[in-house]
């Protein structure tokens, strides 16, 4: 594949310049070029949601987005939420409610939840469940994820 394209992408507040093949997936750019392996690839066809990141504030599938489409964009990945020594509030809610088991879907769940919490009231359990319906978790049965997001919503509403 000839002909690389120059891109400038801001990821978690840090600006990156790269020359990439037009076919390079955003997920691979994030994982391989930037070494941010928190973004997981679970299906490469946009169903499982493990690769969900925020691009200009909206959740997108990094496996269905090309790196060149992120040119000029602001991207947020799970690494932006906090590190293991200083977890952010949503990450803490996930931990307290046992909202993860194997952890593979978790970065996508967290980014989808971040998007939902920023934009929607999430007044009912149904609203949260519908919001999560594009992210598959095979371990938890979702109940604890819903509990964690409900707790994060309550926390948000206090502010």
């Amino acid at each position: 594949m000839k002909g690389k394209i120059e891109i400038r992408v801001t990821v978690n507040g840090e600006e990156h310049h790269a020359s990439v093949e037009p076919r390079l997936l955003l997920a691979d750019f994030i994982r391989e070029n930037l070494d941010l392996t928190g973004t997981h690839v679970g299906c490469e066809h946009g169903i499982c949601g493990a690769c969900t990141v925020l691009m200009n504030g909206d959740s997108v599938r990094a496996c269905l987005t090309l790196a060149v489409q992120a040119d000029g964009a602001e991207v947020e990945t799970v690494e932006s939420l906090g590190d293991s020594e200083n977890l952010g509030s949503l990450q803490r809610a996930f931990r307290e409610h046992h909202a993860l088991q194997c952890g593979f879907c978790t970065p996508g769940m967290l980014m989808t939840a971040t998007d939902m919490l920023r934009k929607y009231p999430l007044e009912t359990e149904d609203e949260i469940r519908v919001g999560l319906s594009g992210n598959i978790c095979r371990c938890t049965g979702y109940q604890h994820i819903v509990d964690a997001i409900s707790a994060a919503r309550d926390e948000r509403n206090k502010k």
Partner: protein
């Protein structure tokens, strides 16, 4: 500082406490280490060209200009790999079993769609995939077998020409006078049940990174496996390398559910190519490959009948099971693992004296079936508990009542089930009773009657089951297999820095074992929870281990961990007795300290370790010679294993417009013995039920007549999302604890075992005014529509 003389205060009861998981911070922040995250200097990537034919001779493989493509390093066919790695097969001492050789890459012939034929090695995965498209494989098609009942027929073409037939295994069971009771029984019901094929769908697809070190002549394989020990042992044989020079590590693994309990061709091919090239080799499956090649589940037809008295007492049970096991007998479990378990567990937790069963495992041109959460029992419970409901309906008895009358009573344990399994005491009756009370059974029936009066399709489902967990050396997990699945090892060591490490061969795929095993070891040793390091899933850690499967982690890990911690604790007490100048029986250990009861004479275990290891003179040579170090390796064999029991109940409504079955209430009451961490135990039940909902309502691997997989994407193979899984109640009945160390029973698979039967019963109950019985799962809207239309036209 106050004196630590209160044992209850200073030795916190970690076992039984809800403790947040220690694996969480790294997994929540993207700092986990999954196989796909591994990078090595000079690492190369493999992609596989897979068969698009279900059954064909490989006439010609033309690699064309592939090698001139920039970045392509090499191309390997089955014959190339055979020169580096021997083919392997799953042997068994079981009578009437035929093993099949499994070539890591197909040689001369392909037997299912998705079978790996050619491996391309390149500098990047993108280039490797580009290269696949340039390879031409010419096939000569052979007759395709997709229907196991046809593959059984004597004139059917054979998948493996050297074998006598396509029946890879056959077994019969009989107890009592089955033919006679069926002739004389007042009521019999039965039919043909079908549990379609599903696939595990771990969110992390399978992956491997193989690193052969030419200088050290050693192979390290990072793999998404549940069975690092089994993989290590087999790779050592396949590559003729001594055990210490093959190390298999399962790092953070993204779900297993049984799908990662088998040895896979890709692990061998990656290792073989790494050995040939002396370079690190990485392979990460894509989802299509994963859906087509990870061991499939279930796929059985069961002809079964039950005979009952007018009072609902079961007097006889018959079952004929035909298991479609796919193209090869999977390693190490063999083709028997799933179908034989169906007949072994068919009588369930019920008192059944007369039972006759036959099972045949039949090879077809499909992906291999292997272990999947529940193994055999989801279908055996489906058949048994459906039969009970059908019988109850026929004699006009409540489904909860017919179960109460047939469940083994508390005073009847140990109970030898008709298939020969022995149930140790478990809360069969109280799980049923508690589930009834907790869900408000009578009220649910009233609700149902009101809904029914409005013409709505609302039903109540019940399923009761028993499973054998933590199975020790008395019984092999798969019949006759030459691998010991009955023991596990733990090493507990306090090193010269005073730090505690507990090392296990079992691996975690999300069960939280770093946390639960730390709870057990910290409590038994008398140290703080956070001071115990847990090592899992590394064959370098212990000399023998098989891994995590069959609901054995808590029983085996907890048991071996307890034994090893207790042995180290005894050593600590000996040394403390000397250092604190007190009798050993006066020494107390807790919270990382040792002290003399009722005194202020105290020291930390850290200081005690330093005294023993480094301050020569503080512990006499005789004592040091005697205890060696603060370390112990212990092996635990639970011998029989122990029985986990549960009752599931649910309320389901079928939508008359969409024919979608919606689960409105769900409860699980289980006896899993002593619960180590209630939060984690609940999570296991939730996840298990969610997968059971998938099996009951949504998930199905579909092959067409030519053996093509029509469900090779997550668009076509649909697993439950947050919308389909309801909030559920989970209750643990810690009745009489079993004889396992710590009183632990296994609980990982239970949810998936009970849910399909429970939901199928609820739908059948909902549709009982139409006379619809659910005999086949998943009960998709399309199936329900057809059943209802057919019933209406009668």
């Amino acid at each position: 500082m106050s004196l630590p003389n209160d044992v209850e205060l200073t030795r916190p009861q970690y076992v039984g406490a809800t403790v947040t998981r220690r694996e969480d911070p790294r997994l929540l922040s993207g700092e986990g280490n999954y196989v796909a995250d591994i990078k090595r200097h000079g690492m190369l990537h493999i992609a596989f060209r897979r068969s698009d034919q279900a059954h064909a001779l490989i006439h010609k493989i033309d690699i064309g200009e592939v090698l001139s493509l920039p970045g392509v390093i090499g191309v390997y066919t089955g014959k190339d790999i055979a020169e580096i790695a021997k083919p392997y097969k799953a042997t068994s001492r079981m009578k009437n079993y035929q093993a099949t050789y499994i070539p890591p890459l197909a040689i001369d012939k392909v037997r299912y769609v998705g079978e790996a034929v050619v491996a391309v090695v390149a500098e990047s995965r993108y280039i490797a995939e580009d290269a696949l498209g340039l390879i031409e494989v010419e096939y000569r098609p052979l007759p395709v077998l997709v229907d196991p009942e046809k593959a059984l027929e004597p004139e059917a073409p054979k998948l493996h020409e050297q074998l006598g037939s396509n029946v890879l295994a056959e077994r019969e069971f009989a107890r009592g006078e089955v033919a006679e009771v069926f002739v004389n029984a007042p009521v019999t019901v039965g039919g043909r049940f079908h549990f379609t094929r599903t696939t595990p769908v771990t969110l992390e697809t399978r992956a491997a990174v193989a690193e052969y070190d030419k200088g050290a002549k050693s192979l390290t394989l990072h793999s998404t496996t549940q069975i690092p020990g089994i993989v290590r042992d087999k790779l050592s044989e396949i590559f003729d390398l001594p055990g210490p020079r093959v190390r298999v590590i399962a790092p953070d693994v993204g779900g297993g559910f049984g799908g990662k309990t088998s040895l896979y061709s890709e692990e061998i091919v990656a290792s073989a190519i790494s050995r040939a090239l002396g370079k690190p080799i990485k392979w990460v499956s894509d989802r299509m490959e994963d859906l087509m090649t990870t061991g499939h589940a279930f796929d059985e037809v069961v002809y079964a009948d039950i005979a009952v008295t007018k009072d609902g007492e079961i007097v006889g049970l018959k079952a004929d099971v035909i298991g479609d096991v796919g193209a090869y007998s999977i390693y190490p479990w063999t083709a028997t693992i799933e179908p034989v378990q169906v007949v072994s567990f068919m009588p369930g937790p019920y008192r059944i004296e007369n039972y006759a069963a036959r099972v045949r495992a039949v090879a077809t041109n499909k992906t291999l079936t292997g272990a999947y959460r529940g193994v055999g029992r989801p279908i055996s419970v489906f058949v048994m508990d459906r039969l009970l409901d059908m019988a109850a309906r026929k004699i006009g008895m409540d489904p909860a009542e017919i179960r109460r009358r047939n469940l083994v009573n508390d005073d009847e344990f140990p109970y030898k089930a008709a298939s020969g399994l022995v149930w140790d005491k478990s809360a069969f009756q109280s799980c049923l009773r508690e589930a009834r009370d907790k869900i408000g059974y009578e009220e649910l029936r009233r609700e149902q009657n009101l809904a029914r009066a409005e013409g709505r399709w609302v039903g109540v489902g019940i399923a009761s089951y028993a499973e054998l967990t933590g199975v020790g050396s008395r019984i092999a997990v798969a019949p006759g297999m030459p691998i010991n699945t009955g023991t596990e090892t733990c090493n507990v060591a306090i090193d010269s820095t005073g730090a505690v490490t507990a090392s296990f061969g079992i691996a975690s795929q999300g069960q939280g074992m770093e946390t639960t095993l730390a709870q057990v070891v910290a409590q038994e040793l008398g140290v703080k929870l956070e001071d115990v390091e847990i090592i899992l899933g590394d064959t370098a850690a212990v000399s023998h281990s098989t891994g995590t499967y069959a609901s054995r982690g808590a029983v085996f890990g907890g048991g071996a961990g307890t034994l090893a911690a207790q042995a180290v604790r005894e050593k600590i007490i000996r040394v403390a007795g000397h250092l604190l100048e007190a009798a050993e029986e006066d020494i107390e250990v807790g919270d990382g300290n040792v002290w003399v009861k009722g005194t202020d004479s105290k020291m930390t275990i850290r200081d005690l370790a330093r005294a023993l290891y480094s301050n020569m003179g503080s512990v006499p040579k005789e004592m040091r010679d005697e205890i060696d170090n603060l370390e112990a390796t212990k092996v635990y064999d639970p011998f029989f294993g122990t029985t986990t029991a549960a009752t599931h109940m649910c309320l389901v409504e079928v939508d008359p417009e969409t024919y979608n079955a919606k689960i409105k209430k769900y409860i699980v009451v289980e006896d899993c013995g002593k619960v180590i961490n209630p939060m984690i135990a609940n999570g296991q039940a939730h996840g298990g039920v969610a997968q059971g909902i998938g099996v009951a309502l949504m998930e199905e691997v579909i092959h067409d007549d030519t053996g093509q997989v029509l469900t090779a994407s997550l668009v076509d193979y649909v697993v439950p999302s947050a919308v389909e899984v309801p909030s559920m109640d989970v209750m643990h009945v810690e009745a009489e604890l079993p004889g396992t160390i710590g009183g632990f029973r296994g609980l990982g698979e239970g949810g998936t075992i009970g849910a399909p039967a429970c939901i199928a019963n609820a739908i059948s109950d909902a549709l009982s005014p139409l006379g619809v019985e659910i005999m086949e799962l998943p009960a998709t809207p399309e199936r329900l529509f057809r059943l209802i239309e057919a019933a209406k036209s009668l």
